[in-house]
């Protein structure tokens, strides 16, 4: 059977709040990194101010002041999820140390979310990497229909980040994808990221950036497993995406995101239309038909079983995944909470439309807050004609502006709930539900997270990296540095080549003294 290599990068949102004001995030992330350096066995990252840890993962600060944890290279989806969760635990421990150090009446928190709700379209990533050996330019054909349709189980759920109302979506980050293909990762992002940076020799690396941070083990497991299988089938020449080519992938992504029933059809070339579930079943059927082929990984059958199960549940409607998938949990909770607040959940999309039209009419850019209703409808309204049109629309539907006022009143509360859903630690909504035993998201075999916090995966170059980090971390005089492909000591003029992702033995070479060009940046000297 074939081996797969995959990894996951999670960018976290970090925030500090004291007396209802923000704590400078730069202070928080600088100190978190310093705490990592002072309390965790590590080697310095040669390409940034981050660190490589004894579990072979990388912890660093990425653009936008996001703390980022990149898992070590994993050979199966169980390990991929396990090390994502090890990252959560590492971050939570650092946050707790930070809180103890501050000793102030403030809350410091870390969130698994990929958008904020300031209305500016700000987003950050949860990226996946899959090694392969096929021509990279052929991958979009096979991956794009998968990346669009997999949102039915990979969506984090939440609200459209650019709406002035409350518009539930399966994938808030997907709402911000602007292109089908793009090489850019910080703006004009695409469904398919064309970056070519293998970080090893002999392979290409597919870098998926349209996904989201998830809480559900089941969702993560199928996300990593199914995408690995699609890559494996494409690499084997099966052309898995050829018969499900989307006419308009971005438009299809919006449709899938806005359809919790998963019933809407997408325009597919040469077809009368397919739902996202139909497209996923196409990929699944192909995978199931080739389970025992040499190009498939040994765990393909286990992935296909859970992949099929989740698609079957989705066919039964969103209630069937309310204990399983992130967006399903959120939809159930938020609809229930709306009812408790006296809001009609089914009418929220309508009010979101009204609010967005109204904002457009009065030329209020996103992120500038809400328009007080009294101003919006008062004698000084900036766009009386447009508001009169909305008045007519409401009258036709038998609705009152008072309901608009109630949606406005509770909008921020829903957005806080969504932000806190994936909060690390005991206050996170997901954690509270999980601890209450009301979820069904766990996958057998994803356990012993504490072991993954301190130990690398059991094979491949990650195992070697982790062992060396542990062995030399205390050799402060050795001037050691690390990156994904090498570990080296300027003092000892020795270099460990890790360019082979499947390396099993340590192969050390002589290296030129001071061969490492280290690039410190603003995080190097934290003022503490």
């Amino acid at each position: 059977m074939a081996e797969c290599v995959l990894g996951v990068e999670t960018e976290y949102a970090v925030a500090g709040i004291r007396e209802q004001e923000a704590v400078d995030r730069e202070i928080i992330v600088r100190r978190l990194l310093q705490l990592a350096r002072s309390t965790l066995p590590h080697l310095r990252d040669s390409s940034s101010s981050g660190v490589f840890l004894e579990n072979a993962a990388r912890l660093y600060i990425d653009c936008g002041l996001h703390v980022e944890f990149a898992t070590p290279e994993c050979l199966n989806p169980w390990d991929a999820v396990r090390y994502v969760e090890a990252g959560h635990r590492t971050l939570l421990e650092l946050i707790q140390k930070f809180a103890k150090w501050r000793r102030r009446e403030e809350e410091t928190a870390c969130f698994r979310i990929n958008v904020d709700y300031s209305g500016t379209g700000t987003t950050w990533g949860c990226h996946e990497s899959y090694l392969h050996r096929m021509p990279p330019e052929e991958l979009p054909l096979h991956l794009i229909p998968h990346l669009v349709s997999r949102v039915v189980y990979t969506g984090a759920g939440g609200f459209h980040p650019l709406s002035g109302g409350l518009r539930f979506t399966l994938s808030p980050r997907a709402s911000l994808m602007e292109r089908t293909l793009s090489a850019d990762s910080t703006g004009s992002r695409g469904i398919f990221h064309t970056k070519e940076e293998p970080l090893c020799t002999g392979y290409h690396r597919l870098h998926v950036l349209c996904g989201e941070s998830l809480c559900s083990q089941w969702a993560m497991f199928v996300k990593f497993g199914a995408t690995s299988l699609v890559v494996a089938m494409a690499e084997a020449g099966l052309s898995p995406g050829k018969d499900v080519q989307l006419v308009a992938p971005l438009e299809a992504l919006r449709v899938v995101g806005g359809d919790p029933q998963c019933k809407r059809t997408l325009r597919v070339k040469g077809s009368t239309g397919m739902t996202a579930i139909d497209i996923q079943r196409h990929y699944l059927a192909m995978a199931e038909a080739h389970l025992d082929e040499s190009f498939m990984p040994p765990w393909a059958r286990a992935v296909c079983e859970r992949w099929r199960r989740v698609l079957d549940l989705l066919e039964s409607g969103p209630g069937a995944v309310s204990g399983v998938l992130d967006w399903g949990m959120k939809l159930a909770l938020y609809a229930h909470h709306a009812s408790a607040r006296g809001l009609n959940w089914d009418r929220l999309p309508f009010w979101a439309e009204i609010m967005d039209r109204h904002r457009h009419a009065v030329d209020l850019p996103p992120g500038d807050g809400q328009i007080p209703l009294d101003l919006a409808l008062g004698p000084e309204i900036p766009a009386p004609g447009a508001v009169a049109e909305l008045d007519t629309l409401l009258e036709r539907k038998g609705l009152q502006w008072d309901e608009f006022r109630r949606v406005q009143q509770f909008r921020a509360e829903f957005l806080e709930i969504d932000t806190r859903f994936g909060q690390l630690g005991p206050r996170g909504v997901f954690t509270l539900l999980d601890n209450a035993g009301v979820l069904n998201h766990r996958v057998p075999g994803i356990d012993n997270i504490e072991h993954a916090v301190r130990n690398p995966p059991s094979t491949g170059r990650a195992k070697l990296r982790g062992a060396v980090v542990r062995r030399v971390a205390e050799d402060k005089e050795g001037d050691w540095y690390c990156d994904w492909q090498r570990i080296y000591s300027n003092k000892h003029a020795r270099l460990l080549d890790l360019s082979d992702p499947f390396a099993q033995t340590e192969t050390w070479h002589d290296a030129p003294p001071r061969g490492c060009q280290y690039h410190p940046d603003l995080f190097e000297d934290a003022p503490f």
């Binding site: 609809a335 229930h336 806080e416 206050r427």
Partner: protein, 67 residues
């Protein structure tokens, strides 16, 4: 309208939760699981929203763009 009281009975086919009493009737079991989820959700949201000022929370948790 409450999520688990919708007329579409298909929506009630919940995956079983991790705990709670088992029922021989799948529909009844699904409904019970759903009610337990929502009850736990009420408590979770109450604890999560401790600050009582969501506008301030959203301002304080505003992020810069990453990748």
């Amino acid at each position: 309208m409450r999520f688990f009281q919708r007329s579409d009975e298909q929506q009630l086919h919940l995956a079983p939760g991790n705990g709670g009493p088992a029922s021989s009737d799948p529909l009844q079991q699904s409904r019970a699981d759903g009610e337990r989820l929502l009850a736990a959700g009420d408590e979770a949201l109450r604890r999560a929203l401790g600050s009582g000022n969501s506008e301030a929370f959203l301002r304080a948790s505003k992020q810069s763009g990453g990748e």
